[in-house]
Amino acid sequence: MPKEDITVIAQFKVWRRRFLAADGTLCGEPSALAGDFSTLIPLYQGMVLTRAFDLKAVGLQRTGRLGTYAVSLGQEAVSVGVASAMASEDVLFPSYRDNGALLWRGVKMEEILLYWGGDERGSHWSGPLHDFPFCVPVGSQAPHAAGVAYAFKLRKEPRVAVCLLGDGATSKGDVYEAMNFAGVQNLPLVFVVNNNQWAISVPLKLQTSAETLAQKAIAAGFPGEQVDGNDVIAVRAAAEQAIAAARAGGGPRLIEALTYRLGDHTTADDAARYRPAEEVQAHWKEEPIGRLRAYLVGAKAWSKAEEEQLAAECQQRVEKAVEHYLAVGPRAPRTMFDHLYAELPAAYAAQSDELRDVVHA
């Protein structure tokens, strides 16, 4: 083929954002956020609370007081950083590993425990009533986020849908169908891919041969960027920009947050079966909480006394939440028919009676 017939018609770049190196020192372009300690300290507190909650939840599961639980150990910066950039009227679409985001949005710890403890009442929570509940079928919440964002656009409301996904979710058609539509309709929708490198036992390299997950947005016609997902400053800055752009009519964005799942997939999983301990150990050096603490301490914005006080407070709040959770008695069996339809059809009322009779027999 003669050379002159070959024309480059499109070229794309994917940027990675990082402000805080693994040792807690500043790197890259200076960010105003890095000096904004009144913003950073609550983020730090949110991450520490999330981890304390997670550890307790695992303990409850191990002692038979909680069902299977999905740990977010090591990924706190993604959940907390993104949620902190949202307005309360925005709508969150969490995956099942986004406890940090839910807590930040006002969901109570005892409500999250109630859900993982096997009680639907946990999803009727104190957080924003318009937020979606945990999504278990991976990636299937992405089309909902597109529907919600379409409603915002139609009603000309300055609100944004924020959809949290894992790296595994990017292999699903659901996610691409939603991204494609969001691009076509220029929707106020921010996709955040929490790339923790593992979808249960399947590593990223078996998930995709693409260099980045961020570039998947490019095929859908909108920008995608990478951030260091263990750098909460970068996550927050990227989320803030993406959400502001979406709110202003700038259309969808995708943020790929690079992090690492330090824990098992869930309490029902044993990651030692499929990944070497050395790999996990190496990633502990990059985890987000120690990193931000080192930075704050180095900047004299955080003290040992404050650290101790925070740890004690988190411990106390978690224990209190556990007490509340354990005090919630089971629902009457018959309530499984509640909220099945707006009004239970006559056809199923008989089944509800049948259950009542069996239980009381």
Partner: protein, 326 residues
């Protein structure tokens, strides 16, 4: 009042719903500029604009998922899946989300949505365009499944489905789109969901069907009438939750029952109805229940489809067997 076709009745109901309620949004593949491949949404985009009558990408899963998101935000989404053979990517959304959002959030969020789905054989369509797989939908708790068999019921039941606070899959028999005609008053009045319609009263035998096959069923009832057998014909209309009461009352009266459906037999809605009649109406039965259905084969292409679908002859033969049972 002139007669209109079933597809025109659908169009009339959509226009009425959009006129009455600004939160009603219609979308799907080719529904906007083109007015739908069956013309069910003809003229709606011109009348209500591109945002409320929206052409989507070719993305069935997306269409069903958009419904869930829009509904949770207070819109009234009416999505269209072009043919029932293409509904399967939506099953995840229907089972895991649309039908259970209200229950799993204990009423905090819900999915009042309608998914319109043309279905059935008899129009000599290509492969995958003639399916009638309603049973898999009727199995899903939290869902309503509705199918009209006349323009009047298409209008009244579609309006009812759009106003219903829960998710509804609304099946539209393609074979009736243009061939079924009737007078429909555009008065905005709904027909009740979860109610079966007695199309013809009779005393010797109950024929139960839904959708397009009621046409053959009614002809069969005529043939039986000429032979001195008085058949009651019931249009089930809502397949989930269905109206047990009307069915049981009819069987209590006639003592004999034939269930007719276009879908394959095994695990079909007919099996469910037969089970309930056996459970709760056995003592009034004078003969075993019979089913006349599509076969447990892959839906054949056009050349054999008429042999797959229940014919008047098959229905009459089954009815005679049931009536001759000692």
């Amino acid at each position: 009042m002139p007669e209109i076709t079933l597809v025109e009745a659908i169009n009339l109901a959509l226009a009425r719903a959009m006129q009455d309620d600004p939160s009603v949004i219609v979308f799907g593949e080719d529904v906007g500029v083109n007015g739908g491949v069956f013309r069910a949404t003809a003229g709606l985009q011109q009348r209500f604009g591109r945002e409320r009558v929206m052409d989507t990408p070719l993305s069935e899963l997306l269409i069903s998922g958009l419904c869930v998101g829009m509904a949770a935000q207070g819109l009234k989404p009416v999505g269209e899946i072009q043919f029932m053979g293409f509904i399967y990517p939506c099953i995840d959304q229907l089972v895991n989300h649309a039908s259970r959002l209200r229950n799993r959030t204990q009423g905090r969020l819900s999915s009042p949505m309608v998914l319109r789905v043309p279905c059935g054989a008899g129009i000599r369509a290509p492969e995958h365009h003639s399916e009638h797989t309603e049973a898999m939908l009727a199995h899903i708790p939290g869902l309503r499944v509705v199918i009209p068999s006349s323009p009047e019921r298409a209008y009244g039941l579609l309006l009812a489905s759009i106003r219903d606070p829960d998710p509804v899959v609304f099946l539209e028999p393609t074979r009736l789109y243009r061939s079924a005609k009737g007078k429909v008053e555009d008065n905005g009045e709904v027909m009740p969901l979860d109610v079966a319609f007695v199309l013809r009263e009779g005393k010797d035998l109950t024929l139960i069907g839904w959708g397009a096959i009621l046409r053959e069923t009614l002809v069969a009832a005529d043939v039986l009438g000429n032979r001195g057998i008085s058949a009651e014909v019931i249009d089930l209309a809502t397949l989930k939750p269905y109206d047990e009461k009307t069915l049981l009352a009819s069987v209590a009266k006639t003592g004999r029952c034939v269930i007719v459906h276009e879908a394959a037999r095994t695990g079909g809605v007919g099996a469910e109805i037969a089970a309930v009649i056996a459970e709760r109406g056995l003592t009034s039965l004078l003969a075993p229940i019979a089913r006349v259905t599509g076969y447990d084969t892959v839906m054949p292409l056009a050349r054999l489809e008429q042999h797959y679908m229940p014919s008047v002859d098959r229905i009459v033969a089954a009815a005679q067997r049931v009536c001759e049972f000692a």
